[in-house]
Amino acid sequence: MNIVVLVKQVPDTWSERKLSDADHTLDRASADAVLDEINERAVEEALLAKEAQGGEVTVVCMGPERANEAIRKALSMGADSAVHVSDEALHGSDAVQTARTLAAAIGTLESVDLVIAGNESTDGRAGAVPAMVAELLGWPQLTYARKLDTDGQSVSIERESDAGVATVEANLPALVSVTEKINEPRYPSFKGIMAAKKKPVSTLSVADVGLSADEVGLGSAPTQVVSSAPAPPKEAGVKVTDEGEGGVQIVEFLSGQKLV
């Protein structure tokens, strides 16, 4: 089966992340860029499915030239090839435009059976792109998977949400988004790293995937960021001394936060 994994390069969560003052987009120069951890899990799940069912794993990524590093990481884990949509016109694209671009890029590939994505990126955290891509492709969407099974004909997941766990099934082709509980991703081996250098990466422009430059990017984005501010520094917590009433105080605190 042919599996596509959507991957994104994000600023390392270990480094300081900020938005640019000019247009409130990510300041990519200020932080180390890495393959998003949730995407490593998506790649791992695709590789497990490939190992069980056979087939090919193709990585699809939208991002600037530097995102090539994240693509290489996915290839060094074991993915077979990659499509990199890289175009100046994409700068500042929002979730809808990103989904359109990714769906169009998937459309350039032949006979895709399954798309696997992370449920949300660690930078934007909109958590909307996987569902939007499925909608644009006209495929079933199985989101928030903590477990995935496929026999090559259909896919079944355990979908975990605040409301509980449900088993959801769909015929292929379909799109699945995975949570951090899905697996523990492998670390690239040296052999994998060496092999990745020889794997095909096709770099496509916006026009190559059949879109026009004025459909994407900050200027025509359906949503606009009008202002942004750095996250406030963490404030000291409330210290509660237990003088026999500790349990009551904890419940009062939690109910004050509307958590119970």
Binding site: Y187, P188, S189, F190, K191, I193, M194, K197
Partner: protein, 386 residues
């Protein structure tokens, strides 16, 4: 011109091991260390990444990398923990490399795929109770009796020799007398579980507590004649070459420890407050950190240089000794300074720097003491012998 930038694939490997050390090793190693327990799941993780086969050719079951790749992996592991790093170092430089370098086709076929995949571990028995630096003073003997070697003697401080996955120990033994009356030393492969081969309970050590170290004894231990590794009588030359490259690996490990001290202190100095300011603002701390960074940087350059000479096939004995000496000095000095910067917390086993302090000392002893490194450097300078 000299260029110490890493190639793309070396850098990718470094990042991969860095992530493994940060995410898999760091959260759990403290507990293994306190229990003095061998971290099997972490060894499995390193095996899955192919680290045990880094410098081994692909057709022998390895990763097709080079010895420098191994050094980079060791540095990144030792930034977080030295027990895990030495388990890999000994597994590769002492377990895999003697067979990879000196084994015949049959021995390579038999052992390398499993050793290089990390499925099993190999150990190297050189040091004896009565001879460490004087490694030529081997007392262990092996006598050919029909088509079997009969091994008698004991070996000390042997890393990876008693784990559940230890498959063999490569031992040096006196197999006769040379024409000049000197000892003829040969190397013999002794599989784990061979009758007469006994592994003593593990040592209680000052550091490297999560690594596996035992004394071994051989009492009329019989192995097939074909377990001779390489030529008979070449044992001394073999272990000298294994130890020379091993010095570069240990240098990388020491640089990792020295860097780990810098990492921890940078973080701490930016958080800890004293007398109304973060301590990183005080010159007393800044100068310490500047010195720590300098030692780490110079020791790293020294091992990069030794490794690049090794890979180019040039003589690197002096550079390997210098790298080992610079690195173990850096590790020891940085561990002392890091503990000082952390104050009372640095004396607690729960902080990494407490472990770094305990783990640093052995670097001045193992794989050639600092005195032996000075002897080697002096010899390479062409000084007269006493």
């Amino acid at each position: 011109m000299v260029d110490h930038r890493l190639s793309e694939e070396h850098e990718a490997l470094r990042q991969s091991v860095e992530a493994f050390a940060r995410k898999e090793v760091a959260p759990v190693i403290g507990e293994y260390y306190e229990r003095a327990e061998f971290p099997y799941p972490l060894v499995r993780g390193m095996a899955n990444m192919g680290l045990f086969g880094l410098p081994v050719a692909e057709e022998q079951g390895g990763m097709g990398g080079d010895y420098f790749a191994l050094c980079l992996a060791l540095e990144e592991l030792a930034r977080v923990d030295s027990s895990v790093a030495i388990t890999l170092e000994a597994g590769v430089s002492l377990g895999v490399m003697p067979i990879s370098r000196f084994g015949n086709e049959q021995q390579k076929r038999q052992w390398l795929p499993r050793l290089a995949s990390g499925e099993v571990l190999g150990a190297f028995g050189l040091t004896e109770p009565g001879g460490g630096s004087d490694a030529g003073a081997t007392r262990t003997t092996a006598v050919l009796d029909g088509d079997e070697w009969v091994v008698n003697g004991s070996k000390s401080f042997i890393t990876n020799s008693g784990t559940d996955i230890t498959a063999l120990v490569t031992v040096t033994a006196v197999t006769g007398e040379k024409p000049d009356g000197g000892k003829e030393i040969s190397t013999i492969l002794v599989p784990a579980g061979t009758p007469g081969f006994t592994v003593a309970p593990k040592y209680s050590k000052v550091g490297w507590n999560a690594s596996d170290t035992h004394e071994l004894s051989f009492d009329n231990c019989r192995v097939p004649a074909e377990n001779l590794l390489g030529e008979r009588g070449r044992g001394y030359a073999q272990f000298l070459s294994i130890l020379t490259e091993g010095r570069v690996a240990i240098a990388a490990l020491g640089v990792g420890l020295a860097q780990g001290c810098v990492d921890e202190c940078l973080r701490y100095a930016g958080e800890r407050e004293a007398f109304g300011h973060r301590i990183g603002g005080y010159q007393a701390i800044q100068f310490k950190l500047a010195d720590m960074e300098l030692r780490t940087h110079t020791a790293r350059l020294a091992y990069y240089d030794a490794a690049s000479r090794m890979l180019r096939g040039e003589s690197y004995r002096k550079q390997a000794a210098a790298a080992k000496l610079a690195s173990s000095n850096a590790a020891m000095d940085n561990a002392r300074d890091a503990t000082q910067i952390f104050g009372g917390y640095g004396f607690m086993n729960e902080t990494p720097v407490g472990r770094f302090y305990r783990d640093a000392k052995i670097l001045e002893i193992g794989e050639g003491t600092s005195e032996v490194q000075r002897m080697l450097i002096a010899r390479e300078l062409g000084l007269p012998s006493a």
